[in-house]
Assembly symmetry: C4
């Protein structure tokens, strides 16, 4: 299925692409240990979402849940009753509602954990001096790009309130990512394809900034220390 006809993808085609991306992101190291998650909107009221606690590279199109992003309710569950909806559904719904996202990737990549470490006690990390910033919708390679960093919680559901407060702040208006300390990141886009582009860009920003700090390049400073 071509990336060019993405708006026209049928329910079945979107399910298939979503599963293909689950396998691809597993290979990239974003979904190790059954971690991570992925969702994509079928339309304004229905979101496809991968199940939790399973090896993501083996999820099949029939294993996906359909949820209502406004209420979080399950509209359609897979026949396999052993499958459970993602713990991320609250955060996924929040990002879809508050940011108009059509797809969200939840990554557990090592680089996302190390990038959150860069924040120290601050509530954000800044990325700059990288052409790849142009790969983020609305951004230029001359930007100093701020990504919010929230503290981790025992349960993913408890993160919702923290994320909701932070992504409403003006400095994060142009970001498509939230870093969760010791945990990973949520990265979103207008659809599955833009979310893939953004996720690849952010992982590059994480890796480049971690590598640059390793040879002593100072991090950009923000006013967000707390």
């Amino acid at each position: 299925m071509s990336q060019r006809v993405r708006q026209k993808q049928s329910d079945a085609a979107l399910r298939k692409t979503l599963c293909e991306f689950l396998a691809l992101y597993y290979e990239k190291g974003w979904f190790g240990g059954t971690g991570g998650g992925l969702c994509a909107a079928l339309d304004m009221g229905r979101v496809l979402m991968a199940p939790t606690g399973v090896h993501k590279e083996r999820v099949r199109p029939a294993d996906l849940f359909v949820i209502d992003p406004k209420s979080g309710a399950i509209i359609h569950a897979p026949k396999d009753v052993a499958l459970c909806p993602s713990e991320c559904s609250g955060i996924f719904s929040l990002i879809i509602q508050q940011r108009g996202a059509g797809s969200v990737v939840h990554t557990h990549a090592l680089s996302s954990v190390l990038a959150a470490d860069l924040a120290g006690n601050a509530d954000r990390v800044l990325f700059q001096d990288l052409e790849m910033l142009k790969g983020l919708a609305g951004c230029a390679n001359t930007d100093r790009h701020a990504v919010a960093v929230v503290r981790n919680t025992p349960r993913e559901a408890e993160l919702v309130a923290r994320i909701e407060a932070l992504i409403a702040l003006p400095p994060f208006a142009k970001s498509h990512c939230i870093l969760v300390r010791d945990h990973g990141a949520y990265i979103w886009g207008g659809d599955l394809w833009e979310a893939k582009r953004h996720a690849e860009v952010y992982h590059f920003l994480f890796e480049a900034t971690v590598a640059r700090r390793q040879y002593g390049r100072p991090l950009p400073l923000s006013g967000g220390e707390k």
Copy 2:
């Protein structure tokens, strides 16, 4: 074969999945140089086990041994008389008996060697401040998770007594892993699928903790120095 119907896997299906995982773990760098090993229980009295000294990614379902985890005896050998049972069989049997494991991965990954180095002269490494801890059965992301580290021996069989003594200690009651200094790790789970999840989680813990020490983050301290 779906991960969801794992309890129902036939002998033939389990052999096939085990070989698929041998190839996957070889690609991950856990089984280089014909090293490493993998076993999975068919039932309480019969364990499938990969042969030793062969390129693991090329093992076929008919190449597996069936052993009795209580006695270590070979119940069924492959027709190919050139194949030898894994040197790990004593350790595999010990872990199955003492921990009720249904599957054990023996990894030679570089990250497992570097993680054991972190112990210095202590008999354990601690892992904390990582969401991935939730991927281990019985663990929370707020845990300070202890993994035992044993000294290496010339022959794998001699490790059995050391491992037996260490994994009986209360601080390791929740761990699903033993690190062997300069060598690798044994990682287990209730079945092939849980052992895969645990193995991916532990390799992440190894990599993250080694990376964090590289930029000067202090290791958690335990009372286990000796």
Copy 3:
């Protein structure tokens, strides 16, 4: 299609090989986030070029543009009207015209960004003491090989003048690469196959020199500081 019969490749075969290389370079991490680009000459007046802003590993033979490297004009556009020609076309044309290249790879690899960082305030990086230098046409493993480094600009088209001035300088007469600070590299060769060889060699030079600096080996010094 054999690499040995490359001169005889038909239009259709070259389109297919170009798409195969797009997918291969994506896997190598050179084209993340829809970044990077690739072109190859069909003949003196027609150059095949990948579209911009799309996931490069998914480009199909029919998605390529045909441009005139002398004027930069589009000779043939793909039927899919959503596709846009690469922003790199000006730089690609410049390199084809000025260096007689038959193919240019534009990489966004992390190692190319870190290699450009090595230049500090200088306008070049030197590579030496590496056998892989022999993989570059006209070079020996005893060379001290200079690669020009240009500052990045908001738009790729603006880079043309800077690159044109730099690659005309005598110290860069034997190089097949331009590094763009914070951005990536342009690497070329006589055809798709030589460009592949050069691109693999340069990425090796980047990685080796970055790794050597990490353990304190001093960089070769040039007279090009400014």
Copy 4:
């Protein structure tokens, strides 16, 4: 084709396996930029050898040369007259003759270059405290394993005399590897399969020892400084 029936492999089967390994080692990063090489003996008087200067992952069974390891003469050349025999043929023949090897891998991996750097001005690197040493024929994990390091030369043929002198020295009697400074390594075994095992083991030794030095672990010292 099973690794267990390797002694019985026909000429055609060995050609196919050799090409399969060329592709595998390319994926591992040992053969970038058309570098590296591989040979395997058909019998005492005939050795299959990959051509030089081509993308190794694309070599086909019909592209291999057959050479006489005693004289270095070409017994059979591929029909494709554009193909040239490997520059390594002199070193390959030397190792086959002097060490009784049945297969030699010539790697250009970054880790082999960095491992040779560890030697400083000495003529060897020592590897110890690694279980993987057991993967080398005749070695134990308690060994302090010495690998010779030779200086690079402009042409590979000139390396023959240096390598011949070094590998005759008693300290290297148990090694299956020669490191060439700034260049790579030659690694051998009794047949293609043992050479694969040895190559995977040595690359692990290189990576582990380079990583350990990065966090300050002192290298083993030998008496071979010069």
